[in-house]
């Protein structure tokens, strides 16, 4: 069981292509962190034509205290699901921040310090639904981020989805979590672990 930890402005950016479910991903994760974990969270996004086929991005700011400025300025975590997104937003990654990418779609990573998984093909081949790719990412991040409790996040995910697609997404979530643990190693995300405050229920 992971412990609840004090956070002071933890900034995540999800970025990629329109249609990858990036905003839903941010929304579900934000909701899980805000309502399930009790953090203050702001989620903002880019709207408009970009959301239909162009690039898409969605920011989360997570904090134990009040969040004043709601946008992400220097990223602790950048999730890049396309080459273009990776190129545009990598400069905003904080020193010591982590880059997570879609290893099939980002062929030229700007650094060799990254964590990658072929999320799209995993969703297509192992879950059977390509659209569940964003949930695979959510599962992987729930493993990576030391302040996310897997069970709580999964519960939050399930509550946010209509019954019809719930089972598929649970499967995708678990797959992401499992593979992240396997591929990224036990101590991935260790940089963000701070002193324990108590357990998350």
């Amino acid at each position: 069981m992971k412990a609840q930890q004090e956070l002071d402005r933890f900034e995540i950016r999800f970025s990629g292509l329109g249609g990858q479910g990036i905003i839903t991903l941010g929304k579900v994760m934000g909701q899980g962190l805000a309502l399930g974990h009790g953090y203050n969270v702001t989620q903002t996004q880019s709207y408009g034509p970009e959301a239909r086929g162009g690039s898409s991005k969605c920011d989360l700011v997570i904090s134990s205290g009040r969040i004043s400025y709601p946008k992400a300025e220097s990223l602790d975590l950048l999730v890049a699901l396309s080459q273009e997104a990776c190129n545009s937003y990598f400069p905003y990654l904080k020193k010591g921040g982590i880059l997570v990418l879609e290893s099939d779609l980002v062929k030229q990573p700007p650094t060799n310090q990254f964590l990658g998984l072929p999320f799209t093909s995993l969703a297509k081949d192992k879950v059977g639904v390509a659209q569940a790719m964003n949930t695979v990412v959510l599962g992987a991040l729930s493993y990576l981020l030391p302040f996310i409790n897997q069970a709580t996040m999964r519960k939050s995910l399930e509550s946010a989805l209509p019954p019809k697609i719930r089972a598929v997404n649970t499967k995708a979530f678990n797959l992401g979590h499992r593979l992240a643990k396997k591929e990224w190693g036990e101590d991935a995300g260790e940089v963000w672990r701070v002193e324990e405050l108590g357990e998350i229920d």
Binding site: L35, V41, S46, Y47, Y69
Partner: protein, 381 residues
């Protein structure tokens, strides 16, 4: 002391919070026309209102018609609202003036985006501030509120309805794209934890009723159409009976009253948050999402040993003069960051009258003013 019932928490968009606030305030009518970035308000209303007893949602053919329908609904006794953004707000100005003249309570939410014209549909701006104040023609009083975070979207929408009903006037709630498209955790207050004001209705026999009669508060009671009080509503300057008049003494009486009904309640209408302003030497005056950047900047400045404070405006108009004057007693610099070329800073300068130096930070590139930009100016003193 009775244990307070736990409030429901939701993770909501600013626009969603507006809907929650409106429904808590008793809104039963939404008439609108979709426009980015306010459309979610309309979409959520479209799914919620028809399922409520007595809730009415209607999509009108344009923003002009939306205002017409909202005023019509309000005259019929409903708490009514619409929401729009820049170009739509421009189209609403004509009937907004009608609502002022006919003293029709209503709430107009304008989610500001980059302008002029179609401008930047998906980017934030604060360029409609002076339009909200002076957009409709003729001298008129108006109440303009704003919100800087999602919880405030809910709270200020309730406040907007209360003020509209209390003062029989249209109330504009100015949001910006950042605030309305941010998702945050908010608490939905339980019934009884917030004020809900509904307009006063006449109690005298219909034949004694004068629709625009002088009252103590300057706000005449207002019956719903069809309730037995038959009277004339017009956008023409009218006498106490509601009939058009051009007699100077009757014209001035009307103009006096519609201004006075707002002016004498400044203490109730002008809302601000004073953050570390008690001893501040540099005071940031901000509103909307920029106030969030300002708050961070002020905290950082304090950390650097600068006595900074933030006056967060929740009421933009009538401009909170007395709050500003209080700060002017000790502040030597006022910093006004805005996502426009300097619209609120005009008000600040007007009130300041040379007491302090007023520094403006203006951005019109579709980006929010960042905390570091504000901090830089604060640190310059």
């Amino acid at each position: 002391m009775p244990r307070r019932k736990k409030r429901t928490e939701i993770f909501a968009l600013g626009n969603e919070a507006v809907v929650e606030g409106a429904l808590l305030a008793g809104c039963t009518f939404y008439g609108g026309y979709p426009i980015t970035p306010s459309s979610e308000i309309m979409e959520i209303m479209a799914s919620r209102l028809p399922k409520l007893e007595n809730g009415v949602f209607i999509q009108m053919e344009d923003e002009i018609a939306s205002m017409g329908a909202v005023i019509g609904a309000s005259l019929s006794g409903r708490k009514a609202m619409t929401a729009t953004s820049g170009p739509g707000f421009s189209l609403m100005q004509e009937n907004l003036g009608y609502a002022v003249m006919a003293e029709t309570p209503m709430v107009l939410v304008n989610v500001m985006r980059g302008g002029p014209s179609t401008g930047l549909p998906t980017s934030p701006a604060q360029g409609d501030v002076q339009q909200a104040r002076w957009g409709t023609h003729g001298d008129h009083p108006i109440i303009v509120l704003s919100a800087s975070n999602v919880q405030e979207c809910l709270d200020m929408t309730i406040t907007a309805f209360n003020m509209a009903e209390k003062y029989r006037t249209p109330v504009i709630l100015l949001l910006d794209e950042v605030t309305s498209h941010t998702r945050e955790k908010i608490e939905i207050p339980n019934e009884g934890e917030f004020e809900v004001f509904s307009r006063t209705v006449p109690s005298m026999p219909p034949e004694w009723y004068k629709p625009y009669e002088e009252t103590v508060r300057g706000v005449p009671p207002m019956p719903p159409i069809g309730s037995g009080y038959r009277f004339h509503v017009t956008g023409l300057t009218h006498d106490r009976n509601g009939f058009p008049t051009q007699r100077p003494e009757e014209v001035v009486e009307l103009m006096d009253r519609i201004h006075r009904k707002i002016d004498q309640f400044f203490y109730d209408i002008q809302l601000v948050d004073e953050i570390m302003t008690d001893d501040c030497e540099v005071c940031v005056i901000a509103y909307g999402s920029v106030a969030r950047s300002a708050e961070l900047a002020v905290q950082q400045a304090r950390g650097n040993g600068v006595k900074a404070g933030l006056l967060k405006l929740k009421t933009l108009f009538p401009y909170p003069r007395r709050h500003t004057e209080k700060i002017l007693a000790h502040a030597r610099t006022l910093v006004v960051p805005e996502m426009n070329m300097g619209q609120m800073s005009r008000e600040v300068k007007r009130v300041n009258m040379g007491h302090a130096s007023v520094r403006t930070i203006n951005r019109v590139d579709g980006q929010i003013v960042t905390p570091s930009e504000i901090l830089k100016v604060i640190m310059q003193g």
